[in-house]
């Protein structure tokens, strides 16, 4: 109970922490790190919900009567981790491409450069 509770709390706090970094850091790559932390928080929250006090992993071969963790949230999380990694890799590639060509990582300037390009 305390284990799941503390993990669930941490998950929610990590989401907020990541969003905070996403909003307050100016450089793109730091923002992406913040996003990474936030998505980790959501995943942790789901894992915390799969846990039961004193539970065993959702594997067979344990003695009778030991409660098992819920496999469904864990399965969802596996999917989510991969999706987050995929979007992170793509966004880093975009960030590199933007930095190489606009010579800045600050989102405000990127936004202005984009607007300038489209106002022709």
């Amino acid at each position: 109970m305390t284990a799941s509770l503390s993990a669930a709390t941490l998950g929610i706090v990590l989401v907020a922490l990541g969003f905070g970094a996403l909003l307050l850091r100016r450089s793109l790559i730091w923002k992406l790190l913040g996003l990474n932390v936030a998505s980790g928080g959501a995943i942790l929250f789901l894992v915390a919900l799969s846990h039961r006090p004193g539970a065993r992993p959702p594997l067979m071969g344990y003695p009778e009567g030991v409660p098992s963790a819920d496999p469904l949230p864990q399965a969802l999380v596996l999917t989510a981790i991969v999706i987050h990694f995929a979007t992170l890799a793509l966004s880093l590639a975009y960030a590199i491409s933007l930095t190489e060509r606009l010579h800045t990582q600050e989102t405000g300037r990127l936004e202005e450069a984009a607007e300038e390009e489209m106002e022709r």
């Binding site: 509770l5 669930a8 919900l49 039961r52 594997l59 399965a75 596996l78 981790i81 999706i83």
Partner: protein
Amino acid sequence: MRIAAVVGVLALLVGILLVGAFGLFPLGDSPDWEKLARAYGAENGVAAVVLGTRLYDTLLEVMVFALAMVGVRYTLTPLSRWKEPVVPERGVVREMADLLLPVVIVFSLYLAASGHLGPGGGFPAGAIAGSGLLLLAMAKGIERLSRELHEGTLELLEYGAIGGLLVLGVASGLFGVRGSGLLVLFNLLIGIEVTVGTWVVLHYFGSHRGEI
């Protein structure tokens, strides 16, 4: 001002979510998954869900992964390549890699093949094998290795694995075929796909910016 707004809204969000989350506990008993796992021929409940009941989610997820790698490839290709010579071959590193690589490959094969019995599965296996290739790249120089691993073959492997997964998944669903052999096959196909994808992303990131 902005900091105050950010901190305020985040604090409120955390507060309300925590109040809601505390209401969720204590959780009820876990649902019985063992019957389901047996029906799919798995001993790992997570594998039974990922490769069994919710195989369709996994298929979509594999496509997300593969398409993100496609995106990385097409985004980074037009950028200037790293011009400095790649790491020269260093004896020690090279030997270390030669020693470690078989271990890594065997370990990832084990993870993929036993994913339905214990912890493991195609995704971590592929990620570890892809990192193993990166290790090899450190020793051999990334350009040389990427020439040796023919890009066309890799693409064929990657898309072939996804195509195979799709066809197998749909066919097994439509004809009601189940069993642990099928799960091993799925895991291996996912493993191949992820290995190639990982190699592609690391290789492209490595050769277009910075050296490994």
